[in-house]
Symmetry: C2
Subunit: 318 residues, 2 copies
């Protein structure tokens, strides 16, 4: 039984990770400022005696250090970040603070308290505009298109220097688009909302050809733990993903079909939905496949399952 800190653990992905680690019998502390996370994501976790929820901000160094002193963590899973990539176009400080400074503060607290195992939630956004090629983990140059990607790359940079200088071991897992239970925003939510407003026509930003892999959240959690337990370098770094992609037109069709509608799709045109978007993206997954892990659900299956959950949840909220 290990003592584990999950930052951002009330969020979409962090809460699934908390459930999974609690089910294995570990002691889990979630630190989350609830700016994007929701306490309702922790309904299951809060039933466990091994679980502690702390509402607070990583940028509050005193709070963070007290938490480290109290719980003597064996390992930190750092997921706290801004998760709404498009909104920081207007204000890059959002990603400077929520995506980068959070990581830097976690690293300082780990160093100060002698904790030396870190899982970091990185992202395909560090790779920037790759022109749709299959991106390997050693791809370069790294010129992120979004401030979110910049904040994550800046985080990786200091994780590396802390690893070299203070003997911290790191598992950098680069997430693709992830979907499933407990999401609060994103293209699937947008499409459902739009179709509730107008069941006859769905407006799609761009030309519908933007295509990305969507990984089911429970597959992602398995991948994270698999990598942490089976890769033993000083800095371990992996693309986490699923083979294949789902383009925006296909997503629109899945949503329309799941809602039993017959809506027409209207495209606004252009090759991307918003500034900082990466219109086509594909991972090369050889590294994690060779380590012995593969996703259970395909990208299309993950999207279909996620849409079903959104509609069920909406139905509950009526």
């Amino acid at each position: 039984m290990e003592s584990i800190l999950i930052t951002g653990g009330a969020g979409f992905i962090g809460s699934h990770l908390a459930d999974r680690l609690l089910s294995e019998g570990h002691k889990v502390v979630v630190l989350d400022n609830l700016s994007l996370g929701r306490k309702s994501n922790l309904t299951q976790a809060l039933n466990s005696d091994n679980f502690t929820f702390v509402e607070g901000d990583i940028l509050d160094s005193k709070l963070l250090n007290n938490l480290f002193k109290e719980h003597k963590f064996d390992m930190v899973f750092h997921l706290a970040a801004n998760s709404d990539i498009a909104r920081s176009h207007a204000n890059p400080d959002i990603d400077l603070d929520m995506t980068f400074h959070t990581t830097y503060n976690v690293l300082k607290a780990m160093r100060a308290n002698g904790v030396n195992k870190l899982m970091f939630a990185s992202t395909s956004a560090i790779y920037g505009q790759t022109g749709g090629i299959e991106v390997q983990e050693n791809y370069g140059p790294l010129f992120p298109a979004s401030h979110y990607g910049a904040g994550k790359l800046a985080s990786e940079a200091f994780i590396a220097s802390f690893a070299e200088n203070y003997g911290i071991q790191a598992w950098i897992t680069r997430f693709p688009n992830v979907c499933g239970e407990r999401t609060t925003h994103g293209i699937l939510h947008d499409f459902v909302k739009k179709l509730k407003n107008n069941p006859h026509e769905l407006e799609v930003l761009g030309n519908g050809k933007q295509a990305k892999p969507y990984l089911y959240v429970k597959d992602l959690v398995e991948a994270i733990l698999f990598v942490c337990r089976n890769s033993h370098e000083k800095i371990n770094y992996f693309n986490l993903g699923v083979e294949g992609q789902t383009n925006v037109t296909k997503i629109a069709e899945i949503v329309i079909s799941a809602m039993n509608l017959n809506a027409k799709i209207h495209y606004t045109g252009g090759d991307r939905g918003w500034i900082g978007d990466v219109p086509k993206f594909a991972y090369n997954l050889d590294k994690i496949h060779k380590l012995g892990w593969k996703a259970k659900l395909t990208s299309d299956e993950a999207v279909t399952k996620a849409v079903k959950h959104i509609l069920e949840q909406d139905a509950c909220n009526l």
Copy 2:
């Protein structure tokens, strides 16, 4: 005639760049907090009517914005940074603030004031431990060994996202070890000091086999301007360097010979001088060579010239 801001312009490299741009008739403003830079480096520049020196800190956003409003810069050359890589091992905040936050503040000021041309002084330190291979500009993964390298990589990350989001054009020039007039610290200074204390024996950290390319500072300044004027992408990125390397034993021999001594070299052993050091490093320079630039001095010639200057300067200070 352009209006140009050089941050860190009282430093070793920045002051040479200021002299060069003034000689071409440009208006140059140097902003430097003199924490590492020295006003004496600007003796020549201060004779020019086109030159303005401002003592102040980039992290003072109000000062920075006022400077932008007053001088309506056409372009920024951002060189301000911590330049003493080893010292931030004890305190990484030095590079967080001086190497990364400085860049972020410059980017914000450029956005706020509509300035859209940036030359950034990056470094071979972003590449981390490369095992001595010839590193191309698209090398990955990028796991810097020092906080200095991390701060520079974090800077590149946000330069890329600001370029994509706000139309800033960037020239990222990655410096190697640089030597020549106006240096204040580093291995050449250390060896001269040690030999003045004990002319019979020189202690060398490591095994003497650490080898890096040394570029002469005036060659570097030519390379910076050549790249800015001949490469026209949104993000232009180049290794700036010189073919060949000079290892630590060779440096020791050059210093001993320049001082007319007959000292024995004593090695402390091990493959690197300090934590965060990259013991062997070599650039692939095909990209800048193809653009049409090559260094005039070899690495050994640059070291020899730099040692001569240090000894002359020391003689003047007696």
